[in-house]
């Protein structure tokens, strides 16, 4: 079943168009990755799907229903959330306050206990840190809080914008492990990454964007073999 279906999506900032007709699909229970060079429109794609940036044209369907113009808070109520680039935690609030704010919608409050159990089983360290201010945690721990806060919204689809950014290699591997565990929990993930090979390692399907359009798409094996990837990332 298709969790997310995006057709001919166009958007941008002010007068500047960034997306020139993005087409993509995300299957339920899959990890789908969007790759591409800087400025290709990867983050813009996620933000437009989530509604942070208004779509100019095109369609966004979630579980078969039109969600093109739903604002972010309504998307969260429907079961989509985002782990934004740069984490965007509430630094002066405790870890626990951050997590409880994740359970803001009615949908999330109904599942509060279940979500907390899941979060603390995935990230036991956050339980120890629950009374600590989020801004005082290490980068890796902050990334855990950002993912945990997203889980607290009781989502079906998580849009992840560069979760490994700025982390030490060991922590990068941990983040990718976590993403795999989320899929095991039945969640669907649409991932934007700079870290090409590590993200292909865990993905089911991938899209490569270039200048606001999908240049190549395919299963991970197909993508690995494609000339586009070699040209863009290996430099042959």
């Amino acid at each position: 079943m298709e969790m997310l279906f995006v057709k001919d999506l166009e958007s941008g900032y002010g007068e500047m168009q960034v997306l020139w007709g993005i087409n993509l699909k995300v299957e339920k229970g899959s990890i789908t990755t969007i790759l591409g060079p800087n400025g290709a429109g990867k983050s813009t794609t996620l933000k437009t799907i989530f509604g942070m940036i208004k779509p100019w044209k095109g369609v966004v369907e979630f579980k078969g229903e039109d969600a093109t113009t739903l604002p972010p808070h309504k998307k969260v109520e429907e079961g989509i959330t985002m782990v934004p680039e740069g984490r965007h935690l509430f630094p002066n609030m405790t870890v626990e306050e951050n997590l409880v704010l994740g359970a803001y919608t009615k949908r999330a409050m109904d599942a509060l206990d279940k979500s907390l159990d899941l979060v603390y089983s995935l990230f036991p360290v956050l339980k120890e840190r629950s009374r600590q201010k989020a801004g005082t945690l290490s980068g890796g721990e902050q990334q855990m809080v950002a993912i945990a806060r997203a889980l607290m919204t009781n989502p079906e689809l998580i849009l992840m914008d560069e979760p490994s950014q700025g982390l030490a290699p060991k922590l990068v591997a941990e983040v990718f492990d976590t993403v795999l565990k989320l899929r095991e929990e039945g969640l669907t993930i649409l991932l934007v990454e700079q870290n090409v090979y590590a993200s292909l390692e865990i993905s089911d399907y991938a899209y490569i964007l270039n200048e606001g359009r999908v240049a190549v798409e395919g299963t991970v094996d197909e993508i690995r073999e494609s000339d586009e990837v070699k040209r863009a990332y290996v430099g042959v």
């Binding site: 989530f50 942070m52 604002p71 972010p72 808070h73 969260v76 109520e77 959330t81 985002m82 782990v83 934004p84 984490r87 965007h88 935690l89 509430f90 630094p91 002066n92 609030m93 306050e97 409880v100 704010l101 994740g102 803001y104 919608t105 999330a108 806060r149 997203a150 607290m152 919204t153």
Partner: protein, 296 residues
């Protein structure tokens, strides 16, 4: 020791007035913290509160302290109206647009008030006695204003810490995008915070008149706009609690310096207190640019 008696009594007044200054600045800080909008029309809303107290007392003999409820309701409604009609459309515009819009709205309110109420100073006389100390007598009206400020600030604090909406406002202040991914309707929080900020400001206008019951005039607000900016910066812009504490500092500084300046021969102290307050502001900004109480 007449001097020390005078200093002590001025400092007591400074503290009482400081509480009201603090409350009067919380709305400004809240609006800046949440929406990043500088309410340069602040004083006009203080003036509306002052006239609310005046008319309620003059027409219906309602004690000014009871008018704070009326003023809060008027302010909330007015704030919501201004947000929905003007500010909502300007949120994505450059910051100068919202600044000019608030400036224009402030002038519009003042001129409209002048049209209906005239340009003259008005006042009321509400005498409910006072407490006599050996050095001075403090009217109950000022004590009422002070205690009201503290109670209102404390209620707000609890509301911000405990309620879901209060937490959502704090979340938007700390990180707008973070609040969005939690499912907070950011536009609704903007509307609410703006209404609450204006509500608090109009309410404070009532308390201000308890200190200057005969100084009510449609242009009285300018002075409070200036003071509120100083206090807001002292408290760390965008932090209502910082603003509340900074109000005390400002009140003490203003009234304390009045006494001290009076000692200098040939100096007219009243004209110089403002100089001292703003000089103090400059010094603090040079030493600690994030504001005296703005830690982060």
């Amino acid at each position: 020791m007449a001097f020390f008696e005078q200093l002590a009594s001025n400092l007591i007044y400074g503290m009482l007035l400081g509480g009201v200054y603090g409350l009067a600045t919380m709305g400004l800080s809240l609006i800046f913290g949440v929406l990043r909008v500088v309410n340069v029309g602040h004083g006009a809303f203080i003036m509306l509160g002052a006239f609310t107290a005046f008319w309620m007392f003059t027409l219906y003999s309602i004690p000014p302290i009871a008018s704070i409820v009326m003023a809060l309701v008027i302010g909330l409604a007015l704030g919501y109206l201004i947000f929905m009609s003007v500010m909502r459309r300007l949120l994505d515009a450059p910051e100068l647009s919202t600044l000019l819009a608030m400036f224009g709205i402030g002038i519009f309110i003042e001129e409209l008030a002048k049209f209906f109420w005239g340009p003259d100073y008005v006042g009321y006389s509400w005498n409910i006695g006072g407490i006599s100390f050996p050095i001075t007598e403090i009217p109950f009206t000022k004590i009422c204003a002070f205690i009201s400020s503290i109670i209102i600030a404390a209620l707000l604090y609890i509301w911000f810490q405990r309620t879901k909406l209060g937490k959502a406002i704090r979340a938007v202040v700390e990180d707008r995008e973070g609040a969005m991914v939690c499912g907070v309707d950011v536009n609704r929080i903007y509307a609410l915070s703006f209404a609450l900020g204006i509500g608090l400001t109009v309410l404070s206008g009532v308390l201000v008149t308890l200190f200057t019951p005969v100084g009510i005039n449609v242009y009285m607000g300018g002075d409070y706009t200036l003071k509120a900016f100083v206090i807001a910066v002292l408290g760390g812009l965008g932090s209502p609690w910082g603003a509340f504490y900074a109000g005390f500092i400002f009140g003490l500084l203003e009234n304390g310096s009045y006494t001290l300046l009076g000692l200098i021969p040939g100096v007219e102290p009243f004209g110089l207190t403002r100089f001292v307050s703003f000089a103090g502001l400059l010094v603090i900004l040079l030493v600690k640019p994030t504001g005296l109480l703005g830690g982060e």
